[in-house]
Assembly symmetry: C3
């Protein structure tokens, strides 16, 4: 990883809008802020490859507020924080209720006294998750303005019902590495398609995050899914507008084959119909276990009508030797399930690339935090490089 | 926060009795030791406000031994430890049994090999919690004396059945800030009253800690509760004696109105009758779920006879424009429950002050630990100020 | 603890085979590597006794992958990591299934991006645990070779079905301290015997680890157990071969008295018959709760036939004033159970020594990690000593 190239890119960008601000939705950030995240991520990776310390905190606390269970995301967040010198403290109040009002305000202030960063993950409650994070963000501003907090903790969304910015940014980072730079994404075709899965209830935020972000950089993004699996309108509108502004395109089709045809990048992943996710939110709030079981049955039956939506070697053969992306874990036919999102042979062939894709996650998160906490990132990065403080006394 | 003022106060105090010693009950500490905790807490806050590192550990381990569930206390402890450079490791052996004898000795020695500080929280077992901590403390002394431990880990009580010293010290810190210094507490009236709550089993240690501590500094403390909600005799005796020694007073009444009348500080919080808590300890030990459910029913019914014990705007209007304290979370009428400890309007008006009150907790804990681990705190604090090592490379 | 003596010992040893390698089975390591672990452990202890920092990581991550529940082992690992400057992140995916294939590879790569050390504990699944660790190790090598990981995380086994190397090395360390040096173990008799316990399912890895390791250093090791409680063949073969090579001996008997007679060191601990543990693995995989309950009944009945296999004062009187070892917790007759592995009087008399034995565990683990991560350990240790960086600003 070329440190100087990353710093040159960073020098030309204004990411000051991210300083002291929360990263909740990728479409709330300017293009320069997003490019700055990519540059800082690459610089941090370069430092780490040279065994240089990347700490900007002598002591500090990151809080993980997880309202559902995710070992992988928890791990990426902890890795990113450790890299910067932050200790991580979990503040998991359980996901049994949808919190609002006084409870959110109290939680926000309570954990903020000593927190530098707060990572929130909540992808279970369609219609409520992003709202929770936005409310949380607002209470932080109010408490800081009222002089109740010495420092303003910054939020990073580790997945909401609307967007999954750390995943999308990690995927973008991956594409810049595999395609030789951000400019090389322009004009390339990316297929974001639904895929069959024997489990239900997977969040919409992955495809939503993908289409909303990749259209910012001139890609020809094709979203494909069976009828009834529409994404939320807001990210679709973002994608359409972003495509227009960037000179790319955004198309929606109900044909997986059409999406894959000639694609340069493909991502085929299952998600639940959002109407069903909204229903699930209500059932969770009312604690209706019978209703939840019935919903699950209906969704699995609905999924089963589209078992042919799977990534096969034949489908891959119609692409332009496409990169295969997946946020993992994938439902691999014959390996982790009888029938799934992808054939074993396809997964095997792209395994190393999939692991490279995943390895970007901690750097994407660390870069977001770096830009939130450091006013002059280029100078700080140079100091870390020149200080040559070893991370590990080998 | 004025660093030099805090250091001037500290210079006049002898807190050597806290060095290498455990902080289990506030009334086991001298007045100078308590004043030293306040001074160090203020100094640490000042350093942090100036973005100076407050680390006294290059590496070190704090252990949290929680025998019940408390996210907030866990968080305060972790924040305090992080500030000083300690990593926190949980050692939660579950609360299913009341441990004694060999088990306590073994646990104490096992977690002490590498531990610098141990935070114990156990407020569930009336008649057993403080005893557990005292036993634990004794085994630590024996193991250290027998040469089995290189360093003597120090204990901090994060709440027992008898006292809640970190909460009480944080409240005291808060009052010194709001009233402009410890001397201004003298002669002020503080009402510590019971309040109605729709949940049962809240610990007595909050009111006990409050009355035992505030009477040390010349306050006129009035404890109010319905018949049958008496506190334990020991902290009441401490309060009575301390009031006499400090020139304050300690009165017990069964009238919430009389307590609030003309008060400068009020705290209205629910707690369970201690006879019931003793009964609950036995039922827990025998694992009698039916008995526990029956006990709960009886206590809720008993509480319900005193629904009028709630903090209203009318009651607040009878005070001397009192500061409203609450350890949080509060049961807020119409917000978190139908009927609770306080009216929403009162809570709203005092919300910012309540958050300021809560924000003292990590500093109170950090100050206790600082005095336990550092022989010459004033010198060390000056070094931290003059070394000007940034906590965070902004 | 004599630092210079430890460094002198280290200077004569070649531990380079441990650098960048995994520590899964003690018999995969050369004698010099094992001696190096002892020397580094003593050096680290010496530094810590002098309040010197022992950090070799400015930032870094250790991952604990526990597939069963063990508070003590989790604690030892966290203590060791903290000593070296590593933060610990748990990656506990639950023990409900035996993972294999794609799942293991994915887990291995996912948690390795930022991990420096991975501690794996899995002693539940006879026939599967060590295999899981070996598979994990292989995937790490492949991922590193494929350029997917910047650094090669090293594994430490925190107990498998086959060996418990950190326990065995801690016990060896303890014996060198109690007997005045490794050479003084030569020709001494060590009895590793089965003992009655009212609980079932204790792992075989403790006795297996003990006999496989102590025979490396010329001890006369006697393994005793009732019929039907044989250890696995592999560690027994290792013990027999090692005894021959080192000039010691390895005998198996069904008489606890014969084993104790004239012994210099004794360890009497319960374990389950391995056929039963294999059966349990299958029952777990199939989720057969009824079968597991039935297995438990049968094993408890089988144990009960050998209630006389317990450590009594009479038995201890037949030894050569033997050191009494136990990995703890012990089942103490009349204290933690009605009838157990050891009489209370014996345990009491040896309690301090047992705690000294246990206190070696974090140092044994830290020493293994030190040798895995540092190419020139002697130089690095001298730097830590000479740098005189205080661990704690007292």
């Amino acid at each position: 990883m070329d440190f100087d190239d990353a710093l040159d890119r960073l020098a030309a960008l204004d990411a000051s809008g991210l300083h002291g601000e929360d990263f909740l939705l990728s479409w709330e950030r300017t293009e320069e802020e997003l490019r700055a995240v990519l540059a800082v991520a690459d610089a941090l990776r370069s430092l780490r490859e040279d065994n240089r310390s990347t700490r900007i905190f002598d002591s500090g606390l990151a809080v993980s507020l997880f309202r559902d269970n995710s070992t992988r995301t928890r791990f990426s967040f902890a890795s990113a924080c450790n890299l910067l010198g932050l200790a991580v403290q979990d503040f998991d109040e359980g996901s049994s209720q949808v919190a609002h009002g006084e409870t959110v305000r109290e939680t926000a202030t309570m954990i903020s006294f000593m927190a530098d960063v707060i990572g929130i993950r909540d992808d279970m409650y369609l219609g409520a998750s992003h709202a929770f994070m936005a409310e949380f963000s607002q209470y932080l501003r109010e408490s800081h303005a009222a002089g109740l907090l010495e420092q303003r903790p910054t939020l990073v969304s580790l997945q909401s019902d609307v967007d999954h910015p750390t995943q999308a940014m990690a995927d973008l980072l991956h594409l810049t590495h595999e395609l030789g730079g951000l400019e090389n994404l322009r004009g390339r075709k990316l297929a974001m398609t639904w895929a069959y899965s024997p489990s239900y209830g997977k969040p919409l935020s992955v495809p939503q995050g993908m289409v909303a972000l990749m259209t910012r950089f001139g890609m020809d993004v094709v979203l494909a899914h069976p009828p009834g699996y529409d994404l939320l309108a807001a990210p679709r509108d973002v994608a359409a507008n972003a495509a227009q502004a960037s000179g790319g395109s955004f198309t929606v089709t109900d044909s997986m084959a059409d999406a894959f045809d000639g694609a340069d990048v493909v991502c085929a992943k299952s998600w639940a119909p959002y109407a069903a996710m909204e229903e699930r939110t209500v059932l969770h709030e009312t604690g209706d276990r019978e209703g939840l079981r019935d919903l699950e049955r209906r969704l699995l039956a609905q999924n089963a009508q589209h078992r042919d939506w799977t990534t096969t070697t034949d489908l891959m053969a119609t692409t332009a030797d496409a990169l295969y992306l997946h946020p993992l874990p994938a439902d691999i036919t014959g390996v982790s399930c009888a029938e799934g999102e992808v054939e074993a042979e396809v997964f095997d062939r792209h395994r190393d690339a999939l692991y490279r894709q995943a390895g970007n996650k901690p750097y994407a998160i660390a870069a977001m935090v770096f830009l939130q906490k450091v006013a002059d990132p280029a100078t700080r990065l140079r100091e870390l490089r020149d200080g040559a403080h070893p991370r590990w006394q080998k």
